[in-house]
Amino acid sequence: MAVKTVIEAIREGMDEEMARDPSVFLIGEDVGNRGGVFLASDGLFKKYGELRVIDSPLAESCIVGVAIGAAVNGMRPIAEIQFADFIAPAMNQIVEEAARFCYRTAGDFNLPMVIRAPWGGGVHGALYHSQSIEATFAHIPGLKVVAPGTPADAKGLLKAAIRDPDPVLYLEHKRTYRLVKGEVPDGDWVVPIGKADVKREGKDLSLIAYGLMLTYCLEVATKLAATGISAEVLDLRTIKPIDQAAIVATARKTGKVLVVHEDNRFAGIAAEVMAIIMENAFDALDAPVMRLTGPDVPAMPFNHVLEEAFMPNVEKILVKAKELAAY
């Protein structure tokens, strides 16, 4: 095993799948010679050529539309949206077409395609380069949504997404790209979609998170341990289909749950996780299920103080977790 960054794991995942399967190709803005704005596809253009690493016009509806057409015709496209914030112009293609295709054709057609989108804040990206979009898309039946938080999961879930017969929205948190390092198993490493992962065992309370917040929650768990509080950390990894069994299991185990995400609060993923717990583990709860999320404001501010105020961080999660532990 080698220690890699998240961005390296993603690049490697694409590279291996393109080498393995000639129907896999990449399309997006600046993904070619430029190697992508975050260098996710650095070197792939040279290796696979302009027919398999395609620079698109600045038109997200085109990127996704082309991917849908190719997928219908037997290809396995990876469509890169440069920033998740830019996905809105492709909304119609994703929601009205891609998500429904299998249903509309009564299962005659599948769309084996991946939409990669760098998401999340904390990078001074301001209003158009920081948003969280997972709740919006998780609401759409027919789409799968994954949000890995570690290099191993980033690689394994990307390979699973490329091989999946249905459209998968693959969210890669920008802040984790080079911040989070970890060991990635050698060989053909695939992580199944729909399985959450207990990243740290504990017994007093559970922290449930994904993406960048996973890293923060693990740090919080270490700090809590120093004060004698044993926190379990559950990494959702896949947002849809969500791993109900894992959520219920940790809630039943500790009886106290805090859900953390940086996406807006209202109707966010935390609300869904809390509902799952209420429906399935009410009798095991020892405290109200709590959540710590970004606020319901229209976008991530540029002003650094305000950005800091928007983002959940280790300190804020720690305070909330202690409140839960003391309940």
Partner: protein, 420 residues
Amino acid sequence: MTSVKMPQLGESITEGTISRWLKQPGDQVKKYEGLVEVITDKVNAEVPAPLAGVLREIRVKEGTTVTVGTEIAIIEESVAAAAVPSPPPSSKETGELQAAFNTPTAAEPEPAVEQSNAGRTRLSPAVRALIEEHRISDAELMGITGSGIAGRISKKDIEDFVAKRAQPATANGEQRPTAAPSATPAPTPGTTIPLSPMRRAIATNMLKSKQTIPHAWTVAEVDMTNVVRFRQKAKDSFKLREGIDLTFVPIMVKAVVEGLKAVPVLNASWSEQGVVLHKDINIGVAVSVEDGLIVPVVHQADRMSISGLAKAIDDLAKRARAGKLGIPDVQGGTFTVNNPGTFGTILSYSIIAPPQVGILAMDAIVKRPVVVDGDAIAVRSMMNLCLSFDHRVLDGVSAARFLQGVRRWLEGFSEQVPLY
């Protein structure tokens, strides 16, 4: 044979609940070794054995509430301890002797009252499930000290209790009650919330205060603008440095201390022999807790800086909410500060806590247009200070002088006033 009585665990405490016996009949006990845990309306305390010997008999079961002075156990002195031959007093004499020491106002001890836990705190679904699973009785539940916020019994508390209970059965061989089949509920007009020890104590003290103290009430209006500005400026760095919030309460307590120094007759007690002026200034600070109110005391508040007061008050409030106050923490108050203003009230008529002679309520700080020097109208942060005082001890003039002192100190507040 010596009988052990329910001790008086503080002034104005008249009864206690046996929480847990730390020794069982037949056990050897050393002098001052923990014998039993007792819950009162104010504190939880461990009662030490008054002498060395063997615990012969437990007279009051866990979960039962009895009045102070009630016999709760019998200890037989060990041979070594009883080596000095002295004719043991007959049990009748002992009883009379004890009665002479414990002359409670109540003529007869009240019958033991079974306390229900139902109204004490909320039980989470996990706790309820565990109670059912392990068939924990009400009496047993009453004996469990909650470690959660406001004394809530947590899942872990129950698990710890069950683990402890699972240890070898006790000598008295008492059968654990099994869950009774629920009877058909009869229609009832309403619900009775059982009186917690705290509720009962508040009721008694408030009634006694209003029936014996002729309360008088007066209000002063204070311009808090300087204090508000100062706190706004200082609070973040204070929090960073000290790890606790800088609230208005320690500043107010400081002001009250200054006022009491100027008008000592408010730092006093009434007695038939005369008005007792206290040397120490011990300020009670009312803290609301689930199911009631408790007034821990900052002792010798006149020797503390604002920062020292902030720390002392923060510590007391936290322990009050966690149910971890000791007896000294709630005794010896000479004056009380109440802060209903946090809940938005603007005029509060507080009841004096005997034997004190005054209680000051800080009401809400509100921005209002005020006529200032030169007949201009300015927006100022205003607060009402409401003083209830014992009119037997002092008159309106002294009360007004006290309020004036407090007000001047607060209005003259500047950054020159030291925090430390």
